[in-house]
Amino acid sequence: MSSNLSKRSLLKLAGWASLAATAALVGCGKKEEAATPAASEASAAASAAAAVGPLKIAFAYVGPVGDAGWTYAHDQGRLAIEKEFGDKVKTSFVEKVPEGPEAERVIRDLVGQGNILVFGTTFGYMEPMLKVAADNPSVKFEHATGFKTAPNMRTYDSRTYEGAYMAGVIAGSMTKSNTLGVVGSIPIPEVIRNINAFTLGAQSVNPKVKTKVVWVNAWFDPPKETEGAQSLLNQGADVLFQNTDSAAVLQTAEKAGKYAFGWDSDMSKFGPKSHLASAVINWGPYYVKATKDALEGTWQTGGVWWGVKEGAIDLVSVSDAVPAEVKAKVDTVKAGLKDGSFAIWKGPIVAQDGKEMVAKDTVADDKFLGGINFYVKGVEGSIPSGK
């Protein structure tokens, strides 16, 4: 009897545990709004466009606003809209919207509340937004980091690799072991592109540099990010870079007396000694433009990819530990990216195995960048999903 019993309770335990996982995934989509929706004018505003009352704009965030990373940066962009347009607009947001079916419900809800412009700030909202967009042709949809569009849905993204390249210039100058470490999140082209750009930036000042990569296979898992960072330090890396959302990598470097960078938002306060600079995304300029388009009736579908040139990417809070001549080099790169005189992806760009991917004096186009699936020479290891 007791063996039966234990089996049954173990099964039960497993059942509850999987239920818990599901509940945690689904149940976390709790809804919080910054502005109280004015119920009475909602339906009116939906049909009467921007002429009457403020333009209602809504954001769906994948994380909590206060995490000092991806979602925090988007919310700064929302605040930029409010600052620019004042009472001509009314913004609200829903945070921690899970990617998938729950997102569709939330986005539909946002449309139902009379929002005319809706921003979805993560890749996983692409399909749900497409569905809602098809049913609501009078509403404009903006989707971050995706590749599918509709007549009333466009995509926007930022050239995060430009920040990674500038960080690389500093890393290549500061390393003593000539070994850099990157804590990668999910092995997709965007992240691989950042690792390559970081390495190219470092090699531009220090050809001997090697980059080691560990993948944590998550955007956000602080203990795992810590373990990945620790492992890179154990293997001799003395400057760390990350494509993950928390400040864990920076903290690990701080404890070990090594250097690291902030990502997405300014993380300098988390590592007063270790922080070299933060590569930040500034969504403000694009969000202001999108709002302007909607207000003035000039909104058009398409795809937008903004970088340093448009003020969407920057390298900020450069540490005092970085020598003046290195800072000057970064400024030269930044200026070149701004006026278009400097190209990061100018050949020859050679893959890890020595194969030439971009020919001499050719500049890779955005289509090439969008599908990057190789490490440049100097990066060690192999891409997990690779051929």
């Binding site: 509940a23 293997q235 404890k255 306060k269």
Partner: protein, 311 residues
């Protein structure tokens, strides 16, 4: 394979001990719980609440130890509420534990809002004088956070307590056959509550370790599933403290090793490597506990079942 010098092995060992400590502590706490016949699926929630309680205390007082005390208190308090519900009101242990986890996740996020941007004050690093300067093993084994050593001592002490002391016998009796323990005159319910709160306190220390020492910052959801791993480990270790320790370090070790292999460019998909610690821990512990009579002997017979005195 390059890079596996004695020095890097020592570093690997150090990181392993560090990585295993969180899971070991929480799992030892849950073991006490379950030995008393109470299953608490709320570990993740208790750890999250303890992580923010510990971090907030650390930031405001500058003292790690006060932080750990606050974490333990928060864990014990959460467990106390859980205990009152399942022991006296006989609510379903599975459902109540899950509710505790969800509640803890929400509460910690709410309380922690103003702490996401804060930083702990600078604290000195710990080292055992003399031993810490030994070549190779010194930096690895004797420069750890004190809690790493305390955890090992705790596992040994707990093993002795359960099997060799009268208190341990009573605790096991309460978990095996509460009716008999009751008939012998032991206060089953208070003993269970004590066990649950002690377990909660240990989960709390584990949570505080994450936010004070392991990843010294507060971000929402930062326990990232370690509570669930600890729960699983308690079962796979067949409720034995030594095996809990072994499983936790095995888990930490394989986790660190897979990062090491990735950094060295071993041609295995990283997704597979990421899975390795879970699989390796389960395989090893299942092999150890393959003898079905051992599991039967070890699994507290009344685990998860309510107890009605006098019924």
């Amino acid at each position: 394979m390059t890079g596996l010098t004695p020095e890097s092995l020592a570093l690997l060992l150090a990181a392993t001990l560090n990585a295993g400590t969180v899971v070991a502590l929480a799992s030892l706490g849950l073991l006490i719980n379950e030995r008393a016949g109470v299953l608490n699926l709320g570990a993740e929630g208790m750890m999250l609440v303890a992580a923010i309680a510990g971090f907030a205390t650390g930031v405001n007082t500058g003292s790690d130890w006060l932080g750990f005390a606050a974490g333990a208190a928060a864990g014990a308090l959460m467990a106390g509420a859980f205990g009152a519900l399942v022991i006296w009101l006989n609510t379903n242990q599975y459902a109540t534990g899950l509710a505790l986890s969800l509640f803890g996740a929400g509460l910690s996020a709410f309380v922690g809002i103003s702490y996401t941007q804060q930083r702990l004050p600078e604290r000195p690093h710990f080292a055992i004088p003399g031993l810490a300067d030994l070549p190779f093993v010194g930096p690895a084994l004797f420069r750890q956070h004190p809690l790493v050593y305390i955890t090992i001592a705790l596992a040994i002490g707990l093993g002795w307590f359960l099997m060799r002391s009268r208190g341990g016998l009573v605790l096991r009796a309460v978990g095996e056959s509460p009716e008999s323990a009751h008939a012998l005159g032991y206060a089953v319910r208070p003993i269970r509550l004590l066990a649950v709160m002690t377990g909660g306190a240990l989960c709390g220390v584990a949570g505080a370790y994450i936010s004070l020492a392991y990843t010294p910052l507060w971000v929402e959801g930062m326990v990232a599933g370690k509570g669930w791993i600890a729960l699983a480990l308690t079962t796979f270790a067949t409720w034995r403290p030594g095996r809990v320790l072994l499983g936790a370090y095995l888990f930490g070790g394989v986790t660190m090793l897979q990062f090491q292999l990735q950094g060295q460019g071993v041609q295995i998909p990283s997704q597979f490597l990421t899975m390795l610690p879970y699989v390796a821990t389960i395989v090893v512990l299942v092999l150890i506990s393959r003898n079905p009579t051992w599991i039967r002997i070890n699994m507290p017979a009344s685990l998860g079942k309510p107890f009605h005195p006098g019924a």
